[in-house]
Symmetry: C2
């Protein structure tokens, strides 16, 4: 099995690293906060981590952290003793992803951007979806390792395409979720039973994942945050982060994303009103108060 | 088989009436414009139509036409010789639907509001979806007749609930379609292949009917308007009509529908720019020019 360095053991990274251990890999971990994960070696620095691994998986909060971890003076590339294969799984801006690809290539290493969808439950279950950007060879190299953490591994295209797919998908997710919330709220206010609307809409042209897999109205799908007081799940502040990435990306190429921008504004308002740590489907309650 | 009067033989009503004929019903039709449909009797007026039928199906452009046809001096209820069962299939505002229900009840008749989804292709194929509002008894009475024109017949609830379900579903459809268009446009501008995005998104949390059944990007699904220069299909002006109904309904109950309102504004601008008779998925091209 492979010798893998894992950086960023948060809500997502922790269970992902655990699944690599479970798959029999030799895992060395590094985080800025203390790590409590059995079966792993803990490195005291990135320089220490990188000296004895062939693969790196990173799962970090934002682009700035990724730049520091990869490109900083105390970072991975400054201390890598050889060519290593990097799987950068954070959700970040496309330009940073491309910069990491270029810097890794300069060192002779292999790189993919491989952001995930699926949330903490999927991370724990090893059923994440990976959207991978990089060469065909790089994709073939990383796929068996990603399969220890995910169920669907998609090759989205060249360097940066994983981030592009993630951003576009999640912009659409944010729009769809608010749309579903508005439809349920309007129907209920008019006198339509939520269950009747769900039964019809799931078979009709309004069908979407936010409705049929993650229904924001309580009492419809038993396993959803809607039935657990909107405990995450996928936090509203993370959806806001993704919508901000989408808006920035759209500005960088002057693409018109009017509903994406409006969805961003609505999640910003929901977060400002105290919803930031609630599940993103909890915006249904905030919309009812507007 | 039943004696049915059919009012409104347009793009939708024409093929719907033809399917009633095909099912063996005795069909008398009335329209303000000349009717060319074989196998039917043509009535010269609503008063003539209503005197010899047990059921009525109406499929009209808007609420004002429905009021005139049902409640006007020359209308159905003024001339109905007995209690008749009415299937009002137009997409109209909830209040007009409720008013028709009340007026029919006063005459001792049976009424359902039963708007459809599916467009002209489904009307021709007899595969429409009906969303029915009315009593359990009324639903049981009309279901066998609607089955000659549709595949899925849903009981949405009491009087008006068919219209509520249709309005909420189509508001969500309008939002989803624009969201899908924005996601494809942003991805393409960033450098993501449309086919790669489609393959990923249909398996991910952005999945929706507008993507997987009616993809607005050309070259993905062969049967869609996107591959026929956005010939309808479902015209943009009809989507605008439904979004206006949704906005009016939301105002009537002070429900917040910010994305529904924004989608309405975008379809208005698309129609104003000449897109009114194009398929509603054609808004993807208009968005590319913004």
């Amino acid at each position: 099995m492979a010798k893998i360095g894992f950086i960023g053991l948060g809500h997502m990274g922790g269970p992902m690293a655990a699944n690599l251990v479970k798959a029999g890999h030799s895992v060395t971990v590094y985080d800025v906060t203390p790590v409590s994960l059995s079966g792993v070696k803990v490195a005291a620095s990135l320089a220490e981590l990188i000296k004895d691994v062939d693969y790196v998986v990173s799962m970090l909060p934002a682009g700035a952290h990724v730049r520091e971890v990869y490109l900083g003076d105390k970072g991975l590339l400054a201390h890598a003793p050889k060519a290593i294969t990097y799987m950068e799984c954070s959700t970040i801006d496309v330009q940073t992803a491309k910069d990491i690809h270029a810097a890794v290539a300069q060192k002779g290493g292999v790189c993919v951007d491989a952001p995930v969808s699926g949330g903490t439950a999927s991370a724990a279950a090893g059923t994440l979806t990976f959207m991978v950007g990089g060469s065909d060879e790089a994709f073939a190299t990383v796929k068996p390792i990603l399969e220890a953490m995910g169920k669907k591994i998609f090759h989205a295209g060249a360097a940066g395409c994983g981030q592009m797919a993630k951003i576009c998908n999640n912009m659409l997710l944010g729009i769809s979720m608010i749309g579903v919330c508005e439809a349920f709220n309007l129907g209920k206010a008019l006198g339509l039973e939520p269950q009747a609307f769900f039964d019809i809409c799931k078979e009709a042209s309004g069908q979407c994942w936010s409705l049929t897999q993650y229904c924001p109205a309580p009492g419809i799908l038993p396993h959803t945050p809607a039935n657990k007081n909107y405990e995450p799940g996928f936090m509203a502040k993370m959806m806001l982060k993704d919508l901000n990435l989408a808006e920035d990306a759209a500005e960088s190429v002057t693409a018109a994303t009017p509903l994406g921008d409006k969805a961003r504004d609505l999640y910003q308002a929901f977060c400002d009103a105290g919803g930031q740590d609630k599940d993103f489907s909890g915006i249904i309650e905030w919309l009812q108060r507007q």
